[in-house]
């Protein structure tokens, strides 16, 4: 029997997450390298239909239980511990998103298995399954191998295009019965975000500010620039956490995913949590004092400089080009 290679299927609110297909695309490559069989592990409640979209896998292992209505790390870990007692796998890819975060570590801790976080790629090389990881906010890359199998890989979004992990083929489904204990954690309700004044996902131009904007008082500089484009101001996490802009303006892991024609990243370092929400923008311009900031690795144009100087200068230059500068 061929060795197995697993991808944990992340699904939320009735839909399979994009990262699941990204993980399947990557998993397919590695499984083929290993000569292994790719299995998608689907933990859900009345979620059998979701398996039909997982045809990139050779097989879907499906466990149906009411406690899988929501992703609770403890419950997932408990189920996977049971599955690992019955079946063997060489590796497990776990999505590293807000929905699933923590479950991979918990499983690794329970079974004393190696966990590799922050993976952007996985390859079979030099006789080992190796991961490429991004650390320190994108400032350091690392190649990592695990000691022991199965290895649990926490995968960042964007490892492969999601469409490469999708297939029309209906895979065979193997049902797996689980017996779960009553969890100490219960979801009571979801709270949808308050409707924002602006839907940043619909804007053609976004002026995004990060820590480099320094204070709430400086936000008007970004607003002035956004007006020139009839665009909107959005932000990375530190600005939202400070309460300078509402949650509806956040781009990245916990916020929105945007694809504007122009994304001006001002004083944003480019940590993976932010870039996963904006890297598909058609044109990215970054301004940062740190020439080594990871944002310059995905930007099309960059200015190494102080946002508080470049921002007003750019607004002024645009006003001049439009012919309104002389009237200001």
């Amino acid at each position: 029997m061929a060795a197995e290679f697993w991808v944990i299927v992340e699904h939320w609110k009735g839909r399979v997450s994009q990262i699941t297909y990204e993980a399947l695309a990557l998993g397919r490559e590695v499984a083929d390298q290993l000569g292994a069989s790719l299995h998608a592990v689907l933990l859900g409640h009345n979620a059998h239909e979701l398996a039909s979209t997982l045809g990139k896998a050779d097989c879907v292992i499906y466990a149906n239980h009411p406690l899988f209505s929501e992703v609770v790390a403890e419950t997932y870990a408990e189920a996977l511990v049971q599955l690992l007692k019955e079946r063997k796998t060489r590796s497990i890819i776990f999505p590293l998103t807000n929905v699933s975060l923590g479950a991979a570590t918990l499983l690794g801790a329970r079974l004393r298995l190696p966990v590799v976080n922050f993976c952007t790629d996985i390859q079979f090389a030099e006789g080992k399954i190796q991961a490429h990881c991004i650390l320190y906010g994108g400032k350091i890359e690392s190649r990592v191998a695990a000691e022991g199998e199965p290895t649990i890989f926490g995968l960042w979004p964007g490892a492969r295009p999601a469409d490469k992990g999708f297939s029309e083929r209906r895979p065979p489904v193997e049902e797996f019965a689980v017996s779960l204990s009553e969890p100490a954690i219960h979801l009571k309700k979801y709270m949808e975000p308050a409707a924002g004044d602006v839907d940043i996902t619909q804007q053609e131009v976004l002026v995004a500010v990060g820590r480099g904007i320094q204070s709430q008082e400086n936000l008007h500089l970004a607003e002035n620039l956004a007006k020139q484009f009839h665009g909107a101001v959005c932000a990375s996490r530190p600005v939202i956490d400070q309460g300078w802009l509402p949650l509806s303006r956040q781009v990245g892991k916990s916020g929105a995913t945007v694809k504007p024609k122009l994304y001006l990243a001002l004083g944003i370092s480019g940590a993976p949590e932010h870039t996963e929400g904006m890297k598909a923008a058609a044109l990215i311009v970054a301004v940062n004092t740190d020439s080594g900031a990871p944002i310059f690795n995905i930007a099309h144009y960059g200015i190494v400089g102080d946002v508080l100087k470049v921002l007003p200068a750019l607004t002024k230059a645009i006003e001049s080009r439009k012919g309104v500068g002389s009237h200001a």
Binding site: A73, G102, P114, V116, E147, I185, L247, Y301, D306, A313
Partner: protein
């Protein structure tokens, strides 16, 4: 009603990071160490709970450069006790750190039996696991991560916790206490404490020290770092050179040529 906050020092990524000669680790000798950002939020959340619902806050950290300043700052902000675990090796991994910290929590009077164990949801160097679920497993406690709001009802032994999901959606969870939480962001931004107040606390208060009770054998993390490198510039960004006015002018021309103005 005891609240325990686990704090970790990480290299400041605003500074240039250097890779050690072995090519497999960071050169920490020249790194400026700062409190992990989400741990700062965990401390703030603990202090907010104390002010709102009572209880005591203990800040706990492994010995590391600059950690005394961070622990004194925690006292100055309102923590009741600061505890430093001495003796860990330099560059300890998250999995190793969790094992060491859990050992101290289990053995140190006043720490065992904490109602809430809070720490940051994720640190920039959590390569071999996240601290909160690792601690939860070691301590036998429930775990919830990516928490942005926490309201305990100590008498009922439950807490209402808000977890962040994508697209601004949040989930409200009921969690049986005691429990471990990975804090993403506190309900309010971390408070500022004047340097003068920290200095005053340095003179009037002390950091309790405890030697590590659990050692970690080589290979405990189960990972082997084969190579560490700085990202190679992809050559993607064309850098515009010159003064603010010059670069702004050049960018303006580019945007106009692309029909964006």
């Amino acid at each position: 009603m005891n609240i325990l906050v686990v704090l970790r020092m990480v290299p400041d990524v605003v500074e240039e990071l250097e890779i050690a000669p072995d090519g497999k680790s960071l050169n920490l000798e020249f790194a400026r160490m700062v409190l992990s950002e989400s741990d700062d939020h965990a401390l703030e959340q603990a202090l907010l709970i104390k002010e709102r619902d009572g209880g005591t806050v203990t800040a706990l950290a492994l010995e590391a450069p600059e950690v005394d300043e961070v622990l004194f700052a925690a006292l100055a902000k309102g923590a009741d006790r600061a505890l430093k675990i001495t003796g860990p090796k330099e560059g300890v991994t998250t999995r190793e750190a969790a094992h060491i910290i859990a050992g101290v929590i289990s053995s140190e009077p006043g720490l065992k039996g904490a109602d809430l164990v809070l720490t940051g949801t994720q640190a920039i160097n959590d390569l071999d696991g996240l601290m909160a679920p690792l601690l939860a497993q070691e301590l036998g406690l429930p775990f919830l991560g990516i928490v942005t709001g926490l309201v305990p009802n100590f008498s009922a032994r439950v807490a209402l916790a808000t977890k962040e999901y994508p697209r601004g959606v949040r989930g409200e969870f009921e969690v049986a206490l005691p429990a471990t939480f990975g804090i993403q962001a506190a309900e309010k931004p971390p408070r500022y404490v004047p340097v003068a107040k920290v200095r005053a606390v340095m003179k009037s208060r002390k950091i309790d020290c405890v030697s590590l009770t659990e050692t970690v054998e080589p290979g405990f993390s189960l990972l082997q770092v084969l190579e560490m490198t700085k990202p190679q510039p992809s050559g993607h960004a064309e850098i515009l050179e010159g003064s603010a006015d010059q670069t702004a002018g050049a960018l303006c021309t580019i945007l106009a040529e692309r029909g964006l103005l």
